[in-house]
Structures are given as C-alpha cells and as structure tokens.
C-alpha cells in the first residue's frame, strides 16, 4: 500500500493548522501540561495520612522501587506499616521443606503459621498472597505470580564482569533465603540470622518447584546412574 495515499485522520485537523492554535499536537500538548499542573496541585494538597493510605496499597516491588523517588518518599515508604513484615523460618531437610512465617500486626497480635506443605506458588506473589495465605484464605494462583519469580530468577543469572574472577562465568546466584527475603520485603539480615545455619544442606526447593532445575532426588538418581555407567565401563 502506498502510504502517500493514506488519508490523514480527521482528528489531526488540517495540515494548514500546523503551528496555529487549532493544531492538534499543540492542543494535545497544552492539555497534557494542564493535566500535569492539575495533578501536581492536587498531589500537593493531599494530606499525609491520605497519601500514606495510597502507599499502603502498593505491592512490595513497587514499594521498594519507589523509595528512589526522593528522600521524602523514602521516609514515607519506610513509615508504611507493612503487615506482611515478618520473619521467615525456613527449614530445609533432605526430605521435607518446612516453611513458617510469622506476621506482626500493629496491634501487637502475632500470627505464627506452619505452612510447610502448601502450594509453594502461593508464596511467590507480591505480599498480599502471603498475607492472605497466612490468614487462611485461599486465592487462586495466577500465572503472573510464577512469571514474576521466574523473572527474578533469570535476573540472578547475570555473568561476571570482573576480570579478576573469571569473565563470562555465571555468578553464584543468591541463596534461597536471600531471594525469599527480597520477594517478600523482609530484611535480609533478619532472614540471614535465622536461616544461615539451616541452609547448609544446599537444597534449592524454589528452583525445583519452579521447574528450573530437576529435583534433588532426580538429580541424585541421575548421578547414581552416571556413576554406574562409569563403573560398568571401567
């Protein structure tokens, strides 16, 4: 199709309008500027408690991301009572993965849940799911939750740029407890303190659950088979 024959959309006005006050782009620009101005004005008049109510409704990722806007925003975001803040108790064993989550409510109430055998995908959503789960309400697992974790995981697969440590080699990905801490906005420190000694088993259930890696059990079988093959060929 010859694009020269394409008809100029009516809403753009006549070409003769270009530069005049009837120019579509000029009108659009003026409208947008007015909108930004009104938006800034409305935001300035917004009371602190109201704004905090907005921030309280953000998911963990956005909440973290927006702390870079300015010092005020950072401090406001830090003041938001995050009901999903808590301590993860992860306990890896060779057979079972126990997961416990403690939630602190602002009224001093603590909710301690042993959630070891539930669908792990529930934990991967932004904060609300863990909260919902902790309070024993079932929500459907959405594909986006799993996608989100996959994105996180793939983000960990960056390669080393430091020539002293082998350029092009994959860095060691964060340990699970670091990652879980990030996903749920729990400070790494509290997680590390609680979990460091428990992760010596080297199990990576997240990857297995996500299907990124085969389960340890299968891997062990595979290694055993390889060993057998080697022994038999020897």
């Amino acid at each position: 199709m010859d694009i020269r024959l394409a008809k100029r959309p009516a809403e753009l006005g006549s070409k003769k309008d270009h530069g005049s006050k009837d120019c579509f782009y000029l009108k659009e620009r003026t409208r947008k500027l007015a909108e930004v101005k009104a938006c800034r004005e409305a935001w300035r008049t917004c009371s602190h408690h109201l704004w905090m109510d907005v921030l309280r409704r953000l998911d963990v990722r956005t909440y973290r991301r927006l702390s870079r806007v300015s010092r005020d925003w950072q401090s406001n975001l830090q003041d938001v009572p995050r009901y999903n803040k808590g301590i993860f108790y992860l306990n890896f064993s060779t057979k079972l993965q126990f997961l416990q989550f403690k939630t602190f409510f602002p009224n001093g109430h603590e909710c301690f849940e042993h959630i070891g055998h539930y669908a792990p995908e529930l934990f991967f959503s932004p904060a609300r799911c863990i909260l919902v789960h902790t309070l024993r309400i079932k929500v459907p697992i959405q594909e986006v939750h799993i996608d989100e974790v996959r994105v996180h995981w793939e983000g960990c697969q960056f390669r080393k740029l430091d020539p002293a440590h082998g350029v092009g080699r994959k860095q060691h990905p964060p340990f699970d407890y670091v990652w879980w801490g990030k996903v749920f906005g729990v400070s790494n420190l509290s997680v590390v303190k609680k979990l460091h000694y428990r992760t010596a088993f080297g199990a990576h259930p997240l990857k297995i659950w996500l299907g990124i890696e085969p389960s340890n059990y299968e891997h062990t079988l595979w290694r055993a088979r390889q060993k057998q093959v080697r022994l038999s060929t020897y």
């Binding site: 917004c46 109510d53 953000l58 973290r64 702390s67 806007v69 983000g155």
Partner: protein, 191 residues
C-alpha cells in the same frame, strides 16, 4: 458523565424520603436523598448533631472544600452505590487488612474512575473530606495502580518532585532495589 450528573441533581431515588440540601464551594445547592447523603459520614454526623427534627427544614449544609464539578461526580457515585450496595457489617481489623490488599475495583467503579489522575486525586480528597470510606479506598487503590505502572522518573515528572539524592546515594538504592526495577508491570491496569 458530568451531564448525567448535573441532570440527576434534581432527580430522586426511588422512595420519597427526607431531602438534604448541601452547598458546594462555589455555593451551588444540591438536594440529596437522605440515604445518599448519609453515605458520607460527615453529613451523617452533622445530621445526627442537628437532630431529626431539623432534618426537614431548609437549612443547607455547607461543604466548603468540595468543588461543584467534583461533587457532581461524587454524587453520581453515591447514587449508584446507594441503589446497588448492600448494607455491610463493620469489619474486624484483620478483615480490613485483607480487604485493603485484596480489593479489586469493580467494573462500574473502574469506568467511573477512568479519568485524569488529577480528577482522581481531587475525588480522593473530597471523599476523604466527606468521609466516604469506600470511595476513598477505591481512589487510593486506583492511584496505587497508576503508581505501579510508572517508573521513578515518570513519577518525579508527574508530581514535580525534585530528586534530592546524591548520585552515590541513588546508585546505592538502585543496587538495593535492582531486583524490582525491570518493570513496568505486566498485570492489567486501568491506566
């Protein structure tokens, strides 16, 4: 929508009941049904203070902080929800927390709030002033949804915020939050 709202100011909702008169910042007077008016906790409080016997007289409640154009929009929302909502029992604290995280914006409200962000903020302010919790919550959620789709730079631009971090500090924060910087998100949003 404003046309619908302006024409509906003189309409009545189903049952003929007590009429409440309120005036906006510009002095325009609106006549509301009692049920609609009492969805605002502020108006409800004033009416209770005035007492039942004074409710039917010609006194006008001044809403000095609400502009007419915003009040018209709020009125549309109030009238719709007065007719469609069921009475809700007060929620326990835990239920409120859940509701805050899980609330989905109903389709009608999504359409209602599908306006410029400045208007949403003004509705939010007015809903806060009038103490209409549900509308306030919906506006907060909508603004939060808008924030989710914006980058840090876009937010600075949108609200006219100056970046007061030093480059080193910003870099440090950027490193800490690198794992969540790769969006705008994939989840559906109104804006």
């Amino acid at each position: 929508m404003s046309t619908a709202a302006s024409s509906s100011t003189s309409e009545t909702i189903a049952e003929p009941g007590l009429k409440i008169k309120v005036s906006t910042k510009e002095g325009e007077v609106f006549e509301l049904d009692e049920k609609v008016a009492k969805m605002s906790q502020v108006i409800r409080g004033i009416l209770e203070d005035l007492g039942e016997q004074n409710g039917g007289d010609d006194s006008v409640l001044p809403l000095t902080q609400v502009e007419t154009r915003i009040f018209r929009k709020i009125l549309v929302w109030l009238k719709y929800h007065a007719g469609h909502d069921k009475e809700e029992a007060p929620k326990a604290e835990e239920d409120e927390i859940i509701a805050r995280f899980c609330e989905e914006i109903p389709e009608w409200d999504q359409k209602f709030l599908n306006v410029d962000q400045a208007v949403i903020l003004e509705i939010m302010l007015a809903a806060d002033y009038l103490d209409i919790k549900k509308l306030r919550g919906l506006c907060c959620k909508t603004v939060a949804n808008i924030l989710k789709t914006k980058t840090v730079e876009q937010i600075r631009e949108m609200y006219g915020i100056e970046n007061d971090f030093t480059p080193e500090e910003e870099e440090e924060i950027r490193k800490q939050t690198a794992w969540c910087e790769d969006e705008p998100p994939r989840q559906g949003s109104n804006h």
